[in-house]
């Protein structure tokens, strides 16, 4: 459709324009609008464009002759458009938010570079979702990594930030290499890097090639998505990035990994409905469960807000991956309806996570903006000073904890139903293993609630723990507006799941589509009795009705009573202060103790005495508790150190002695001559 094409071109030029405007702008009154208004407009148009594509038909567009061999092919089908829609919605909110948020950078550094990178980053994500050629896909993919890397180290004054950035860059490049290998396998089979040719000829690939393609793509895209144990970059990069960038990365960018996995599985790797492929799903479920559980466990004990959110992203990616895995297993056993259910659950969670994680990172950003710290142990009491931020953050926290009537509940409900439906798989081993896999899944959901209670309470409730905190005030209006957009999306997608589900079923061309917003999500047994029903609009109505009713009832029963404000009960102590509050560490202490085999907590107690000889007169006691990162210690460090060991041996050949250099030449010629001799005809 020609209008879609024009719209798409306008989107590209808007972001490019924003980038260029950013590059030429100087810090000043107009700098931020110059950067972010184009990106907002571009995002809105992206949303319109992708809705257009979903409603009407796919867009394909080819730009020839830019490079030899490869044409810039753009192909936007429902799946791409779904992800573009997500990008557009989230980046609109974040651009709006950034308008205020980046003010703090104005005094410190050039905002122009930020603007350039920000616009290019969003554009590259859109193009990743739209490209239809392996070469350009990888190009935009790496452009996305590169711009996000620079955004991550935007605060490059601290060496630690730069280090985190390097970890991110290297890991993501490792992932890219594997994605490349996957494409190479497809190229080997088809003689082309065009996705179209992958699509058409992949069903006839040999099984081995399909499996290899799948595995390398899974590991490659999984690195971007943050699947355990390839997640280590994520909790490093997200906290050090500016919060709007973390929001974009966590809400949208890591989803491009999911996009890649979906594309690979259902489009390129020649997935077929046969039990041969069910192990793909099993692999996904294993990886997803590990990610979900480990992600949330680290999130529960983390004291840095943004790190905790980053770990929670790992968890959510895990949940999404579990859903995908289930969908694959169902599909491989021809259970189409269930496969659709699992896919919808997974995709619903994808877009939900984009909403609430974007919201939460923006919230965390607002906290940082207002207080200058990310450390929960120093925060607290913000609910009174930043009422809007805390309300919106609460919406995000409840959503991500998977509680009704917010959107997280709907997708987790669907996920749980998909797991419950695993009894229809005609394989006892799979049935049992999926049933057992529900254990980490459910534990994750439970822990997620705990983690976000802790996160919200420690940040916003009670008294500010750091008594030296400067004067705190609510963040500017456009930041709140940015958060409010995503918060309302969370509520909307919770109360009216029809929106999400009809979007998904149209975008993915699913067989069953809901007809009206008030239809319940209904799952049926074979004998057409109801397996499960869920009608979120009615639940919302019931909740408010019950609340109103009980309010009236209590009021009638009890009459009007007054409220007295008084100090918290302190057992008569009278000096309850900030230092006696429950801290973030103590709140999660039980969980740390229970999972101590994972965390390997290490406590160091240091006492300061009044008199050195008398151990009973203690001036102060300090407890320093650290947990270990088992992945770094047991997986990455050994690999890195052994690689370095080998490299160290190799580079020793540069001895500095000219004699040895000449010897190399002599030996080379002699060896090659022997080689030639041995290959004489």
């Amino acid at each position: 459709m020609i209008e879609n094409l024009i719209l798409f071109q306008i989107v590209i030029s808007l972001f490019l324009g924003g980038a260029l405007l950013g590059l030429v702008s100087r810090n000043g009154r107009f700098a931020r609008p110059m950067i972010f208004i184009p990106s907002m407009m571009g995002s809105v148009l992206t949303v319109l464009f992708s809705i257009g594509v979903i409603m009407t038909k796919s867009l394909s567009w080819t730009v020839p002759n830019m490079l030899p061999f490869f044409k810039l092919e753009i192909f936007v089908d429902g799946i791409s458009a779904f992800f573009m829609l997500m990008i557009g919605l989230v980046s609109f909110a974040i651009s709006l938010y950034s308008l205020g948020y980046t003010k703090e950078y104005e005094s410190k550094k050039r905002i122009s570079v930020f603007g350039f990178l920000f616009n290019v980053f969003i554009l590259s994500m859109i193009l990743v979702a739209g490209s239809n050629n392996g070469f350009f896909f990888l190009m935009f993919w790496e452009l996305m990594s590169l711009t996000s890397f620079f955004l991550v180290i935007y605060d490059h004054d601290k060496e630690e930030n730069v280090k985190s950035g390097i970890t991110y860059l290297v890991m993501t490049h490792f992932g890219t290499a594997l994605i490349f290998v996957s494409f190479l396998l497809g190229y080997l089979q088809t003689g082309s890097f065009g996705f179209d040719s992958f699509r058409t000829s992949s069903p006839s690939f040999p099984l081995l090639v399909k499996n290899l393609m799948f595995v390398s793509a899974f590991v490659g895209f999984g690195t971007k998505a943050g699947i355990v144990p390839l997640h280590t970059w994520l909790p490093k990069a997200h906290p050090v990035a500016p919060s709007n960038v973390s929001a974009l990365m966590s809400a949208v960018m890591i989803k491009m990994g999911i996009y890649g996995i979906i594309r690979t599985v259902f489009d390129f790797a020649g997935f077929g409905a046969s039990p041969d492929y069910s192990w793909w799903g099993v692999l996904l479920i294993i990886a997803g469960s590990a990610s979900a559980l480990i992600g949330i466990l680290y999130a529960v004990i983390e004291r840095d807000i943004k790190r905790a959110l980053a770990f929670s992203s790992i968890e959510n990616i895990g949940i999404i991956i579990i859903g995908l895995g289930l969908s694959i297993i169902f599909a491989s056993y021809h259970l189409t309806a269930l496969s659709v259910l699992a896919l919808v659950a997974s995709m619903y969670h994808t877009i939900n996570h984009a909403f609430f994680k974007g919201l939460l990172f923006m919230g965390a950003g607002s906290v940082v903006y207002a207080t200058g710290t990310k450390d929960m142990e120093k925060l607290g009491g913000l609910v009174k000073k930043m009422p809007w931020t805390s309300l919106l953050f609460l919406v995000g926290a409840v959503s991500i904890a998977g509680l009704p009537p917010f959107n997280g509940f709907v997708s987790e409900w669907l996920g749980l139903q998909a797991i419950l439906s695993s009894s229809q798989i005609p394989s006892t081993v799979l049935q049992l293993s999926i049933a057992f896999a529900s254990l980490p899944f459910a534990l994750t959901i439970g822990l997620a609630a705990a983690a976000f209670v802790r996160l919200f309470a420690m940040t916003f409730l009670s008294k500010t723990r750091d008594i030296h905190m400067p004067h705190i005030q609510e963040v500017p209006r456009n930041m709140i507006a940015g958060m409010a957009i995503l918060a309302s999306a969370c509520i909307l997608f919770g109360i009216v799941p029809f929106l999400g589900i009809s979007l998904l079923s149209t975008a993915f061309h699913l067989p069953s589509q809901p007809s009206s917003p008030f239809d319940a999500i209904a799952l049926k047994n074979n004998d057409s009795t109801s397996f499960a029903n869920l009608s979120m609009p009615l639940v919302a109505i019931m909740l408010s009705a019950v609340a109103l009713a009980v309010f009236g009832f209590i009021r009638i029963l009890g009459g009007k009573t007054s409220k007295t404000i008084y100090g918290t009960w302190d057992c008569g102590f009278g000096k309850l202060n900030e230092r006696m509050e429950y801290t973030a560490a103590s709140l999660s202490h039980p969980i740390r103790v229970i999972f101590k085999s994972l965390f390997k907590p290490h406590n160091v107690i240091s006492k300061e005495l009044f008199v050195q000889t008398n151990p009973y007169m203690v001036k102060s006691i300090k407890l320093h508790s650290t947990t270990k990162n088992i992945f770094e210690e047991n997986l990455y460090n050994p690999i890195i150190s052994s690689t370095l060991f080998v490299l160290d041996k190799i580079r020793k050949i540069q001895t500095g002695k000219i004699n040895s250099y000449l010897l190399y030449i002599m030996l080379t010629i002699i060896l090659l001559l022997i080689f030639v001799r041995s290959s004489h005809a």
């Binding site: 830019m66 061999f69 730069v162 390097i166 490049h173 490349f180 190799i650």
Partner: protein, 497 residues
Amino acid sequence: MDSLLSNITILSLLLTPLVGGILVTIFRKKKIIEIVTISSASLILIQVFFILSTIIHEKTITAFGNAFYIDSFGAVILLPISIVGFVSVLYSKNYMGRQYDIGLVDDKHIVRYYQGLSIFLLSMLVVPITNNLGVMWVTVEATTLVSVLLIMLYFKENAIEAAWKYLIIATVGLSFALIGTVFFYYANITAGSSEDAMNWTGMVHNSKLFDPNLVKIAFVFILVGYGTKAGLAPMHTWLPDAHSEAPTPVSALLSGVLLNCALYGIIRFHIVSSGTLGHAFSDQLLIILAVVSIGIAAASIYFQKDMKRMLAYSSVEHMGLVSLGIGFGGMFGIYGAILQIINHAIAKPLMFFASGTVSQKYETKVMSKIKGIIKVMPVTGALFLIGGFALVGMPPFNIFLSEFLVLSSGFQSGQFLVTMIVIAFLVITFAVFLRHLIKMVFGNPVVEMKQDDMGKLAVIPMAILASLVIIFGFYIPDQLQTLVHNASNIINGGSII
């Protein structure tokens, strides 16, 4: 093009640097010789563009009977020589000017430097346009001698050491190349040719008749010989020393162009040997040396302390990639290799210039002492980053495409294991190279420094190269595509899969 015109074209191309060198010798005034050299370099650039456009239309140029012969492949080598020559001369003005200002070099040195530069350019220009492989050898050897002189311009301890190693190793290596050349010549004679037995055109024409066993031995000598000059491991050992100790513009020329000239020699003989033996034999040898080069480069970059040495190892890696592409063969591989030659010639000088400016500013080449370039020199820092990311094959910069093509051809030719090993090495190189680079560019300078990009003339050459790096990342002009395509056809023996 008629023969008179082509004679004049070639003659004027070669006379330009020669006259430039003579004028430098006559005037001996810093200001004047700078202008003279810059204008001769720009003249060369213009003439090369003229030659290139002719080549695109007419495929070949022959001049002075059969003595000079330019085809698309030669033209592809000519392009980087002229571009890098031009920007290096441009950069020299600022760089050597600063060395002059701080008293590191005097007037005599400057004159000698510019003389050397002109002769260096001249000798490199001959390499891709001569038809006679013996002359090619002589000029490659001449480049060694001239560049040794340029390296030991300062007579510092390290420069003398580097020059000595370079001289001895390159001379020894090139003597192998001569043996190989003579072997080929002998094979040609024994195959019955007499007229132009040393000429490339004659050789490639007769190659089917050569004795296979002789060609095998001959190619090994060529490979080791020119391979030494091209920096293929394990004969690369002189390279980090020479490139790091030379004055920066010379490093750029050495790395960006001279290595290509040497590889050009290998590839020419590869074509001949493929004519005799089929390409499998030489492919195999090229792949072996390429993998060793890429691996050693990866290992050496990690432990590197000196910025320019690190860049030199990256050159080793890229030369490995070029020969890998040639070795893998196929349209993708060869096209990729040729693009890699051009791309490397654009990106590496950019990096050398940036590092030269940085080391002038920080007064050290030791990477651990360099921090926060982006703060001290924002523009140079940004260009440094662009160049660095380009070098490790990050899109949207130019080398991504050529690496992509080379690696794809690896799978296409069925060398899965080799390709996977190379991909692993490339990932390692990526990590270790960027680690160094990013640590230098970001962070806070150790001592307080004034924000200053060291003058316009330091930035302009880099900006030219950087814009090429970016543009070639996603757009290659049709003319260049045609040229590279024709060149690939030549290497592939005229038949493209």
